[in-house]
Amino acid sequence: MKALSKKRRHPLAAVALLLFGLLITGSLYTAAGNISEAKAAETTAASQTDVDEGQKLFVANCATCHGMNAEGSDSGPSLIGVGAASVDFQVGTGRMPMQMQGPQAQVKPVQFDDKQISQLSAYVASLGAGPAIPDEEYLDTTQGDAAHGGTVFRVNCAMCHNAAAAGGALTRGKFAPTLTGVTEKHIYEAMATGPQNMPVFNDSNITPEEKRDVITFLKTIEANGSAGGAALGSLGPVAEGLFTWTAGLGIIIAFTIWLTSRPS
């Protein structure tokens, strides 16, 4: 008995007690959650699980800026009606959770795995009707027309993203990013939802088939690469002029100095 009471008075006893308490609570909570999940699985489809899990993830990661019920706050807009596509895009490209407030959401390492992202999307989609995650058939580049897609791209997209999709500047520090390396799904979702300052290209503006054409075009030029050699960033005359004055004249001047120098 004496040994036990001595242990109870040990300085770390409180820490041990705290850990023990947390362990019990967490286990109970998990068990209770599982039980209720199991119950729910019996009554509704699996998506309800996703919605609930999504809500939990939302409350933990997004509610600070977007409000507990996604109603919006001073720090972030309402997400009611933005649709699963918005969430899939923003979270799937790592833009959300945002690093700091501002008009430009930067691409960062993705913080959630695919399952979590789909859960978040399911939750936000349940709040109000909005653009859905696109069907596979509209992402199938074998069915798209790259030539038509190029025309649609140049009219609607090239002014911000550059004709070769290398990206471009907007006002006051914002920019339109490059589209190389972006998945077909994310391209579609960005068009459909109009993230940040990008306009919304809903299906009555650019139809799903046209969106597929645009994606086919982008993937075609990405696969093609540059026929004439190193692309110098696909930035056009500025990069070419810079190359001329640095590498071009540089090599030539090196040769002129060699030519007029005295040999040994």
Partner: protein, 556 residues
């Protein structure tokens, strides 16, 4: 009729040569040019680079003319490039696509042509800067300077007409901008635009007209001016850097045959090789990415080729309004209101105009201020002409700020700064940059001149520490040899010339202005070391010097 005494050659080559020579008088030319002396320095080669890239333009351009069709007739593309199959475009664009994808070596030739064009204007500009900073435009070469300036403008014209030929989205928007600038010209602007495009923009004629200009008129003028330019170089003989053995009355260097012919001839192949290397490995002007011209789409990062950039940059920097003051003036006339579009006219015409006017007039400006009407065949080291070097740097900064402004959106995305901030900074630099540059460059030149004086008077530190009998330490100095010393002291010592009365004893207003400018330019000056100064320096400091050996000669 003196057939009995005429020379008879013994070899086959000799007989052919003799045949031609006796009918055209080639011997005289061989006598005059065969061993002509040209001075040797790498900075003299930029004009050659310009000429050789021009030859490359002629060669690659001729190839392209066999395949390019400048018509703007509408056609449906059916060539190899899949992302454009079935699209409507002009014949000009379709033929350029064919050259790129359906003619073997076509893409390579297009790239050789375009890279040569960029290098042509770049080497032209560097050549012009070298001539300016070394004072090679002084008498008797003022006229050649003007010819060169016109060649530069012709180079810009050749480039602009050339890259607009494929009728792609990027160059088409460039033509749109030219149309807008034309329309802004008062009274004649709208008519000029209608005549140039054959009606409303874009019309169906402009590419063919640009083609005529690009392959016929502009190259003819350039070739003619190059001939005049080279004729004058031969007549005046080339200038040379100052140094031992080189005077204003001689030329020191190597003979045309065999050394110069070999070096210059070989250099043509070297330039060709460099351009071919670049054209094979680096893509330029991928028109298939831009697509055919259409007034509706536009690409982010729409810039002209680099040499037109400074005009585009000026257009970007100009504010349309300053607060409530608008730069678009609506002027009431008895017959109605007319618009004076200063927001376009000022940036398009004034900076370029000012640059070119000062550039062309500079030989006369310098003559007027320095009252120097002598022939100069010895060049200035830039540090020995601080006034000119500083003015040149100010001009280069003025040009470069506008040039940088043309890529303001790319500066913004690449350096993660706001587009609008880039514009504000460059607007400030447009005015402050040249002033700062002038002041800083002049100070640097004067300091370098003082350093030269130091070296002549006290030599270089030899790294040998010596102890005096009293116990003090000092470092021995190595005197420069006579050759280096001559180089460092043989320069034109320009001084301030106060206002001088003319024959009637009257000082005119312009003479007073000249004196003011002369004071500003030459009051701060560093004079070359004289022999008496050197003696005085030796006497004052005793003999710490060691004899420099012959290895320490002029940097060669």
């Amino acid at each position: 009729m003196t057939t009995t005494n005429e020379y008879q050659a013994s070899t086959a080559t000799g007989r052919i040569a003799n045949f031609v020579d006796s009918r055209v008088g080639a011997s005289a030319i061989v006598k005059e040019f065969g061993r002509k002396i040209f001075p040797d320095h790498w900075s003299f080669m930029f004009g050659e680079v310009a000429m050789y890239t021009f030859v490359l333009l002629l060669l690659s351009g001729t190839f392209l003319t066999f395949f390019f069709d400048p018509s703007m007739a509408h056609v449906v593309y059916n060539g190899s490039y899949v992302p454009m199959k079935g699209l409507g475009m002009s014949t000009a664009m379709a033929s350029t696509m064919d050259i790129s994808f359906d003619v073997r070596g076509g893409l390579f030739m297009r790239q050789v042509h375009h890279w040569s064009a960029l290098l042509f204007v770049a080497s032209l500009s560097v050549h012009m800067l070298r001539v300016f900073f070394t004072g090679a435009f002084r008498r008797p070469r003022e006229l050649n300077w003007v010819v060169g300036g016109v060649l530069l403008i012709m180079g810009l014209a050749a480039g602009f007409t050339g890259y607009s030929l494929p009728d792609d989205l990027l160059s088409g928007n460039g033509l749109r901008i030219i149309d807008g600038v034309m329309k802004a010209l008062p009274i004649v602007g709208t008519y000029l635009s209608m005549f140039f495009f054959g009606g409303e923009f874009p019309g169906e004629h402009v590419i063919q007209r640009l083609y005529s200009l690009h392959i016929m008129i502009v190259p003819a003028v350039i070739i003619l001016l190059i001939v005049v330019h080279l004729f004058m170089v031969v007549t005046h003989k080339h200038t040379q850097y100052p140094g031992p053995g080189r005077t204003n009355d001689n030329v020191v260097g190597f003979p045309v045959g065999p050394v110069y012919a070999a070096k210059a001839g070989g250099f043509f192949f070297i330039v060709f090789g460099i351009v071919a290397f670049i054209a094979g490995l680096f893509q330029i002007n991928p028109i298939w990415n831009y697509g055919p011209y259409d007034p509706s789409p536009v690409s982010a990062g729409t810039q002209p080729d680099w040499y037109i950039g400074f005009v585009d940059g000026a257009l970007r920097l100009m504010p349309g309004t300053l607060g409530n003051f608008s730069f678009e003036w609506i002027i009431p006339f008895p017959w109605g209101d007319n618009t004076l579009v200063l927001s376009v006219l000022l940036p398009a015409l004034v900076p370029a105009g000012a640059l070119f006017v000062v550039m062309f007039a500079w030989p006369w400006i310098e003559r007027w201020v320095t009252k120097d009407n002598r022939e100069h065949h010895l060049l200035d080291r830039p540090r020995n002409a601080p006034f000119r070097t500083a003015m040149g740097v100010a001009g280069v900064i003025f040009y470069s700020v506008m040039w940088a402004a043309a890529s303001s959106d790319l500066i913004a995305t690449h350096f993660h700064v706001a587009l609008n901030d880039v514009t504000y900074w460059l607007r400030a630099l447009f005015f402050l940059g040249p002033i700062l540059g002038f002041w800083l460059t002049r100070r640097i030149c004067l300091s370098l001149q003082r350093k030269d004086r130091e070296i002549v008077l006290h030599g270089r530190e030899a790294g040998i520490i010596q102890m005096s009998p009293e116990g003090g330490f000092s470092e021995k100095h190595e005197e420069v040899d006579v050759y280096k010393r001559y180089l460092l002291t043989n320069f034109v010592d320009r001084q301030y010339i106060p206002a001088e009365p003319d024959a009637a004893g009257h000082i005119s207003g312009s003479e007073k202005r000249r004196a003011l400018i002369s004071k500003f330019f030459f009051e701060d000056r560093v004079a070359p070391v004289t022999p008496s100064e050197l003696e005085a320096a030796h006497a004052a400091h005793g003999h710490h010097e060691v004899e420099g050996d012959m290895q320490d000669s002029i940097g060669k």
